[in-house]
Amino acid sequence: MFAIFTRLADWLAYGIFGLDPASSLGHAVHFFIEDVTKIFFLLSVIVFAIGYFRSMLTPERVRKVVAGRSRAVSYPMAVGLGAVTPFCSCSSVPLFIGFLEAGIPLGVTMAFLIASPMINEVAVVVLAAAVGWKVAALYVFAGLSVGIVGGLVIEYFKLEKWVEDYVWKIRMGETNIQQTSTTFKDKLIYSWGQVKEIVGKIWIYVLVGIALGAVLHGFVPQEFFLKYASADNLFAVPSAVIIGIPLYSNATGVIPIVEALMAKGVPIGTVLALMMSVAAISLPEIIILRKVLKPKLIATFTGILFVAFIGVGYLFNALLI
């Protein structure tokens, strides 16, 4: 299905540019062309298609649906809806306050916020196209599990005391926002707007990710990864997570790196741990959440994710070798 992008890259890299298919530069340029065309094509198509259906799915509705449910329902619901509900990271703060105000437990709210940046439909489809459906399914499963476990731990230790006090005083108003996009044409316009907005926001992360992936693919020898990042090396997974924390990218932007690392034989657990860490924990997100969480809860939250990602890495490396 995606062979057309491989052929396009063959033609451009080896035909037009005349690069040697066996050379490092040839490998790197081929990887770059194939991924740029494939990922941006998929990205636009998926955002457009999903945009058409999800003009109905808003955080306000999620809040209403999740509020008042038992924990056995609300946790899976929160991570599932967190994965598919679109919201800009600058909305994290009002969303957090609105959820708590509706009586949704802190743990469930955090589960939603953990799952949201890690999993989204674009990343899942692009990941599947790059490294197969099995890995994509594992990533989704692991991401949802980390969200639920993270939320449950926060709930277990009753960390509500580490939420900024003013948060509990805010009262939310009732409103019925008129849905303006109801006709077919409106929905198409909305979808196209989504493509412009989302692609406009994340293209730089994706492009940098592809460039790094191309360099890894073409110029870093396989022996390097076998030596430092094999499953035998117990430090490989924690190192991957630590490297990923300061790095900030959209989940889709990490995929070319995942692709290149897996092709070099780096074990799947290590690669997925890196992807989760890059996508989920980021400094900008932490700075935004600092407005509602006291530093102790920020530290606990980061610590829980750190441990959970390492756990995911070791587990998958142990199970899937």
Partner: protein
């Protein structure tokens, strides 16, 4: 005269939204006042969680993303 309020913490999309309303109002030659609401309590008071949101004469007409120029025109003309 219509009063527009743009709900949002001051992120890029919120400023884009306010600028868009301002530009469209000038194009159409309609006098409007535009106010940016950045207090969390006030934003949530309108029942909006996903910013930017738009309020016209105290009625919430939009939430969660930059509106389209056509939507903005509708609000100004309505």
């Amino acid at each position: 005269m219509k009063t527009f309020k743009v709900l949002g913490s001051g992120c890029c999309n919120c400023n884009t939204t306010a600028d868009l309303i301002d530009r469209k109002a000038k194009e159409l030659g309609v006098d409007v006042t535009i106010e940016k609401v950045t207090e969390m309590g006030d934003i949530l008071g309108y029942g909006v969680m996903s910013t930017p949101g738009v309020v016209v004469d105290e009625v919430v007409v939009h939430a969660g993303g930059t509106p389209t120029p056509a939507q903005v025109e509708d609000w100004i003309k309505a």
